[in-house]
């Protein structure tokens, strides 16, 4: 087991562990707002670590760039989706304040 393979195993295991932590957060956190934090930040970090762990084993530069593209698209999509979910929940639970109350919270 070369040091590179050991490093890959460590990165993949760390990525998997972060996903498990994110799932525990999804199941146990009390509020949708907190669950969004768990899903977006922790799962994205897990995805990033897994992609980093797979990069040394990519069969070529093109495959490595595709892995990085997957990471980027995953980041963008999950960030946007969490923003939209928070937006929808906020709008459903309290309609936007009138313009003169906008500075209240």
């Amino acid at each position: 087991m070369t040091p590179l393979v050991l490093l890959q195993c460590a990165l993949l295991a760390a990525g998997g562990a972060f996903f498990v932590i994110g799932t525990i957060g999804l199941l146990r956190l009390p509020d949708a707002w907190c669950r969004l934090h768990a899903l977006t930040k922790v799962d994205n970090l897990g995805l990033g670590l897994i992609v980093l762990g797979l990069l040394p084993a990519a069969p070529g530069v093109a495959a490595g760039l595709k892995l990085l593209l997957i990471w980027l698209v995953g980041l963008g999509a999950s960030a946007t989706m969490s923003h939209l979910v928070a937006h929808a929940k906020y709008y459903r639970e309290q309609p936007y304040p009138a313009p003169d109350e906008a500075g209240a919270d």
């Binding site: 999509a77 923003h83 939209l84 937006h87």
Partner: protein, 309 residues
């Protein structure tokens, strides 16, 4: 390469998500579990060494069907509990019997399939493409694929009929959100490029018209959901022609065989590549438009929450 731990976990996960989707009382949760099931199914196809099926499952099953079901759930009344299924034990027994019969049929296959692989490999140079799945789908068993396109075209015209029931086109229900706009500005060209790549690579690698069309439809659904008005979706001759074009072109290609004295859906080896590539191009566009029109043709719902007429 057998990986018992990975495959066993995947089977368990497939069963868990399927049971969760079927037995869940909340429709939204059921749809989310169905999407997860589609994703796991795509991974299962990869493990079974069928990357074309994995691509199609990921695009259609996990992507487009998920969007359609979420749209449907959003239109139904929220908060109504789903009625429990009638005669659950009989249903369970029938499902187990069917699953057992399929498993037995799979395990009791009479001859090894190696003979078919040699026949296929010998016939590949005449097919016009270098990917076996595309060759079988479009050339050797082209008639089966043509019948699938007939079914899709029938679905497309059903959606047109639904649209014609309404006096005016359904309002563009969309989100106006700047973060979504930025994401769509990046994703839409990327999806268009990926769809074209899937179509073009289908002759050498896993890909093809269905996968490319599904990805095109998914990109168009994303555009529509974020408020971009797509021209050509209003009922009219362009929409009808676009929906029927794949069917017509495939039919014309199939009937070109008898014109040269060959059976229908048979192509001469030197013109096969050109015919297949052209048919796939029009099919990609048509399939994308069909799947998109299934998404946009849903009648609008009235304020009480029931289905509007």
């Amino acid at each position: 390469m057998p990986q018992p731990l990975l495959d066993g976990l995947m089977v368990l996960a497939l069963l868990a998500t399927a049971c969760g989707a079927l037995l869940s009382r909340d429709l939204f949760r059921a749809v989310v579990l169905f999407i997860a099931f589609g994703l796991l199914m795509a991974l299962a196809w990869v493990r079974l060494r069928a990357p074309d099926l994995a691509l199609a499952e990921a695009a259609i099953g996990a992507g487009l069907s998920g969007a359609l079901l979420l749209d449907a759930v959003g239109q139904l009344r929220r908060g109504e509990p789903v009625a429990a299924p009638r005669r659950p034990r009989l249903t369970l027994l029938l499902c187990l019997a069917l699953g057992g019969a399929l498993g037995w049929a799979l395990l009791a296959r009479p001859t090894p399939p190696a003979v078919m692989a040699e026949t296929l490999a010998a016939a590949m140079p005449d097919s016009g493409v270098s990917h076996e799945v595309t060759a079988v789908l479009l050339n050797f068993r082209g008639f089966d694929t043509f019948l699938e396109i007939c079914v899709l075209t029938a679905a497309a015209f059903t959606s047109l009929a639904l649209q014609s029931l309404q006096a005016e086109p359904p309002p563009l229900r969309h989100l106006s959100n700047r973060v979504l706009d930025v994401l769509v500005a990046w994703l839409a060209p990327l999806m268009l490029m990926l769809a074209f790549y899937l179509y073009w690579a289908g002759s050498k690698e896993p890909g093809g018209a269905f996968q490319a069309g599904a990805l095109l439809a998914a990109g168009a659904v994303l555009l529509r959901l974020s408020g971009v008005a797509l021209p050509g979706l209003e009922p009219g001759p362009f929409l009808r022609f676009g929906l029927a074009a794949g069917f017509l072109v495939f039919l014309a290609a199939g009937l070109s065989g008898p014109l040269a004295g060959m059976p229908p859906f048979t192509y001469a080896p030197d013109s096969a590549h050109l015919i297949l590539v052209s048919v796939e191009a029009v099919l990609t566009f048509s399939i994308g438009l069909t799947l998109l029109s299934l998404f946009t043709a849903a009648p609008p719902v009235d304020k009480e929450g029931g289905r509007g007429h």
